[in-house]
């Protein structure tokens, strides 16, 4: 479990996160939702251990800042794509923490092959990553995270650049990981998808957490609507599945 207590983050004199006290349970998928500028990406960087903070963020009782003993995978929204590195080499970087840099074992190479197959990248191993489409690059990033066999995986908008078909494909891959007991924390703009996949939703706005709890109750909460200035509607399909849509403003004529 990650216990966050009175978390504050200030960057260049500006308060980005303030007064956050929540718990992130192990083995569950928690999703951060909220408008742009709510501090979702900064909270992900705090959980990774790269953003300095005041207060306390403890994973199994140990502060996470600059703690590299944990095996945490990070999938950024806009990755730096190295010129000319092949898909296989890029995905293999995920083994660095387990095998040492550039020392993948034979077992690791077999594992990499199986992950490439799972993420539909098999056959593209030698293709330079610079030539991948948005969807292929996203799958490559997910493959690298899967190869890492992390205890916690952090994803910043993993589906934002993808069409619906590929969104479901990526999220299904993450669900397989979750079934194996890996803790997942992601940000997602599509709240319908967040409610479909994540077990917990954490609603944020202006650096604060408005509410967090099980997806099915949060999706109907007034705080979710408040986070988006009451400009969303939540419908429930016959199957019981909630759908969140933006409300169209009526223009005065």
């Amino acid at each position: 479990m990650i216990a966050i207590d009175s978390l504050e983050v200030t960057l260049s004199g500006k308060k980005i996160l303030s007064d956050i006290s929540i718990e992130i349970p192990d083995g569950r998928w928690s999703c951060l939702v909220g408008p742009n500028g709510a501090g979702k990406t900064t909270l992900l960087k705090v959980l990774l251990g790269t953003a300095p903070y005041s207060g306390s963020v403890k994973s199994d009782g140990v502060e996470v800042f600059r703690n590299q003993k944990r095996n945490v995978a990070f999938v950024p929204q806009q990755p730096h794509i190295p010129q000319g590195m092949s898909v296989a080499e890029y995905v293999a970087l995920g083994r660095s923490k387990r095998d040492g840099w550039g020392n993948e074992s034979a077992a690791s190479r077999s594992f990499i092959s199986s992950i490439l197959e799972q993420t539909n990248l098999y056959g593209m191993q030698r293709q330079p990553v610079t030539q991948l489409s948005g969807g292929e690059m996203q799958r490559t990033l997910i493959a690298r995270a899967l190869v890492q066999e992390p205890e916690l995986i952090l994803l910043d908008e993993p589906t934002s650049a993808l069409d619906l078909h590929h969104q479901i494909e990526v999220l299904n891959n993450l669900q397989i990981l979750q079934a194996q007991g890996v803790t997942i924390v992601s940000t997602m703009h599509d709240i319908t998808l967040a409610a479909m996949y994540a077990e917990r939703i954490i609603v944020m706005r202006e650096g604060r957490v408005l509410v967090d709890g099980p997806s099915e109750s949060i999706i109907h909460s007034p705080q979710l609507k408040a986070a988006f200035d009451d400009r969303i509607n939540v419908f429930t399909l016959d199957s019981g599945r909630p759908v969140v849509v933006a409300r169209k403003d009526e223009l005065e004529r």
């Binding site: 790269t50 730096h80 092959s113």
Partner: protein, 345 residues
């Protein structure tokens, strides 16, 4: 096929093949090294050279032995050291700054060293060449330290170091030009040094430059595999077990030490730091820093060969080695770029 080779092939990662290229570059260095100490105004036979170096009976004696031991051998070794230093530093800078056009002279090392050398030449009374390495080493190191100091934001954004390096370099070049204009008699020796030369090579220069260059290359090869992580964002590198800021400081410091030493030992030899890393990457189709040792050996072989050309093409006159590296390097570079584009299509 062994199980590990099968796994390598199916995952698309084949480290074994990479070692073959490394061994090939090592062998190439030995061959061109032997050629470099053999050919010149006086040709020495391979057998006699090997016998002399192995201290076997029947080796060279008299003037031939002096040519081999005191002239050609230190010159070939210095060329190899400088070539390895420039190629390795170039490859490392390209990774650290995520810029394929980064070269070893980027942070002001070259301009600072040039200014140091100009100060030595314009103010020297007597044997200027004994002072050149010291002045240019101090000048190059001071310029890089100034770049570090001015950038300040190195930890937040490596590109700011690159920009302050360009500013410091331009300033040093301006001061150098001013000094040259005021001491017009010194123009020729300064330009000769700027174009790069290995004629001053002796065992003293080889000894002190080898200490710094081998130490720097050793450090860079030790961290070379981790350097791949710097091609990602800092967050991704951290998640893969790297401390990106610490690694950047180690890599840039070692690469700068190698560059400053190379510049102070042999002047400014252009093109090696860009051509050789791209050449090796083009041939191996690998951009990763796993091939840094291969790049070092290829850089050494390239400069030994270039120096052989500089000594023998217009013999007994000598061409500046920088002319050879650019003359040979540029077309080679274009061929590799074209092949790479075809490969990646």
């Amino acid at each position: 096929m062994s199980s590990s080779e099968q796994a390598s092939t199916s995952s698309g990662i084949s480290p074994i093949w990479n070692w073959r290229i490394t061994a090939l570059c090592g062998a190439l260095l030995l061959v061109v090294g032997l050629a470099a100490i053999s050919f010149g105004p006086i040709n020495l036979s391979f057998i006699h050279i090997i016998k002399t170096l192995a201290r076997l009976p029947g080796g060279l004696s008299g003037q031939d032995k002096t040519v081999l031991i005191d002239l050609r051998l230190p010159r070939a070794i210095l060329a190899a050291l400088v070539g390895a230093a420039l190629a390795t530093s170039g490859a490392v800078y390209q990774s650290v700054f995520r810029n394929p056009l980064a070269d070893p002279y980027l942070l002001g090392a070259a301009s600072g060293a040039g200014l140091g050398a100009t100060i030595a030449i314009t103010n020297a009374h007597g044997n200027v060449y004994s002072l050149l390495p010291i002045f240019s080493f101090i000048g190059g190191t001071l310029a890089v330290l100034t770049s570090f100091f001015i950038s300040g934001r190195f930890f937040a954004e490596p590109q700011s170091l690159l920009l302050s390096g360009i500013a410091v370099g331009s300033f040093a070049t301006a001061v150098q030009t001013y000094l040259q204009q005021r001491h017009s008699a010194s123009l020729r020796p300064v330009y000769s040094w700027i174009l790069g030369e290995l004629t001053v090579a002796n065992w003293q220069i080889v000894t002190w430059s080898s200490v710094y260059i081998l130490m720097a290359i050793g450090i860079l090869i030790a961290v070379s595999k981790q350097l791949d992580g710097l091609m990602l964002s800092d967050e991704e590198a951290f998640s893969l077990g790297i401390n990106p800021n610490r690694l950047r400081i180690i890599a840039v410091s070692a690469a700068t030490l190698a560059t400053a030493t190379a510049v102070s030992a042999s002047g400014l030899i252009g093109f090696v730091g860009i051509v050789v890393p791209h050449l090796v990457r083009g041939i191996t189709h690998r951009v990763t820093n796993r091939n840094l040792l291969t790049i070092s050996l290829a850089g050494a072989a390239f400069l030994v060969l270039a120096d052989l050309g500089a000594r023998t093409l217009l013999s007994p006159a000598e061409l500046p080695i920088g002319v050879i590296t650019a003359f040979v390097g540029a077309p080679f570079f274009l061929v590799v770029l074209r092949k790479r584009r075809t490969f990646s299509r």
